[in-house]
Symmetry: C2
Subunit: 157 residues, 2 copies
């Protein structure tokens, strides 16, 4: 199995980028993980929320393949604990999942259509965090989940 974090929006600030790479490096012995930014062309920039969400939907659907298992990060999604994240990934591996896509939507969330495509919705917190910070939290949490699955001492609760 491999994991791709898809995130709508602009490039990471340096500190976020360093942090994400920090955790990716630690995760690599366990599983392949990458971050892919979904960016709209600059000329598509618009203040029309519905139009923006539609353009983002198109960009996401264009990437989505049948071997992708789409999990949407959503404030209203399921609030798992860290050991539950580990269990979820274990189940996905048991199902023979090829690629798990963890999707972080844009500033206005994702379209209804993408909502429907998502197999699951997970929430990191009831708090709202900026998208860049969500990328970093996800990178750390995936590392934590796999270190739980590998009985590494990283997670002790």
């Amino acid at each position: 199995m491999q994991i791709e974090i898809w995130s709508v929006g602009k490039e990471n600030d340096t500190f976020i980028n360093e942090g994400v790479l920090h955790y990716f490096k630690k995760t690599k012995p366990y599983i392949n993980i990458s971050l892919e930014l979904i960016q709209l062309p600059k000329k598509a920039a618009t203040t029309d929320v519905q139009r923006t969400k539609q353009l983002e939907e198109e960009a996401i659907l264009k990437r989505l393949q049948p071997h992708h298992y789409l999990i949407l990060l959503d404030e209203k999604g399921k609030l798992h604990t860290s050991p539950q994240w580990a269990e979820q990934f274990q189940q996905l591996m048991n199902m023979g999942t090829k690629t798990v896509v963890l999707l972080i939507g844009g500033a206005f969330g994702v379209s209804e259509n993408i909502m429907k495509q998502a197999k699951q919705k997970w929430s990191l917190s009831k708090l709202v965090f900026p998208h860049q910070l969500v990328r970093l939290l996800l990178a750390e949490q995936v590392y934590r989940a796999f270190s739980i699955l590998h009985n590494s001492p990283y997670h002790h609760s």
Copy 2:
């Protein structure tokens, strides 16, 4: 009012430090905020959990002053939303609170005694995050709370 984040443990990795400073800078127009590390002397390092918690307790109590309003960050604490964080800070200001201390415990949590000293317990998430990342999340969330109180467009939900 001013806010102090107290965190038991070692110096920040560079990316965490940059991130924390990034949010502190944005928060400064609204409120004074700082991060203070509570570090045990190296020779006090021990693998004895109870002893470590006791040493940490002593270090925390030595700092704690009557004008400090202590809020403990704890997994089992209250899961507020971001607007609720804003409300909480507003209430503390209304009460004439001088200094809010947001305490992040050590790897093994804090002692019973510190638990009792805490006026409130807040949780960032049901997920476990490393202490350094909690410092960064806190810095961002305090900024978000005050930008909500100041009607800045940073938070839109």
